[in-house]
């Protein structure tokens, strides 16, 4: 059974701090996706990483896919209150990409 474990589960920081959240698995994934979900909303796709070792940047967010394609990280530089939300990683569960397996998420709170 493919599982994605995310850490930490909760993170509360001050505006301007840097942070890294992790997504780990014992299984190899063909790709991993990161989503952000705000209260009362559905998850919004931030990025998809496909190649082992790949690094993608989205403004202050940096995503990395592990060389063995079993793990990924999300680094946020100079966090802002607008970054507050639930960060979810997800990967294909088999068959088509329609069957996504999600981690439990990291709940980030950035205080002004």
């Amino acid at each position: 059974t493919q599982l994605l474990e995310q850490s930490p589960q909760f993170l509360s920081i001050q505006e301007g701090e840097n942070l890294t959240v992790y997504c780990n698995s014992s299984s190899v994934f063909s790709s991993l996706q990161w989503y952000r979900q705000e209260p009362g909303e559905g998850p919004v796709l931030l990025v998809t990483v496909v190649t082992g070792g790949e690094v993608k940047k989205l403004k202050r967010l940096t995503f990395q896919f592990g060389d063995a394609r079993k793990d990924s990280s999300l680094h946020i530089t100079a966090a802002q209150p607008g970054d507050t939300g639930l960060y979810l990683c997800a990967g294909p569960g088999g068959g088509s990409q329609g069957n996504l397996i999600f981690g439990k998420g990291t709940k980030l709170s950035v205080k002004p």
Binding site: S31, V44, S96, N99, I101
Partner: protein, 114 residues
């Protein structure tokens, strides 16, 4: 361009009742997937519909059923509701281009079973 829409936004039911949730996919999308997100958890895949047929199913009992209409919209039906069915139900749509189906999620329907 309207995104994925879901109705209703909130719903309260009692144990044993039946519920129907609705989803309209993003314009141009032909595939709909449904997920259940319990409090404090990540979404769990229920099933996916494409060409009006259930193509994949997650580990959910037969009480969970669905339908896709010719206009690609979809319904999720849950019979004999249990307290544990209380959750946010998310619909995601995509276009089955054969390689990578980027999914776009709706805002969800929050179901409370009393």
């Amino acid at each position: 361009d309207a995104g994925v829409t879901q109705s209703p936004t909130h719903l309260i039911k009692t144990r044993g009742q039946q519920v129907t949730l609705r989803c309209s996919p993003k314009s141009g999308h032909d595939t709909v997937s449904w997920y259940q997100q319990a409090l404090g958890q990540g979404p769990q895949f229920i099933f996916q519909y494409y060409e009006e047929e259930e193509r994949q199913r997650g580990n959910f009992p037969d009480r969970f059923s669905g339908h896709q209409f010719p206009n690609y919209s979809s319904e999720l039906n849950v019979n004999a509701l249990l307290l544990g069915d209380s959750a946010l139900y998310l619909c995601a749509s995509s276009w089955r281009d054969g390689y990578q189906e980027t999914q776009y999620f709706g805002p969800g329907t929050r179901l409370l079973v009393l």
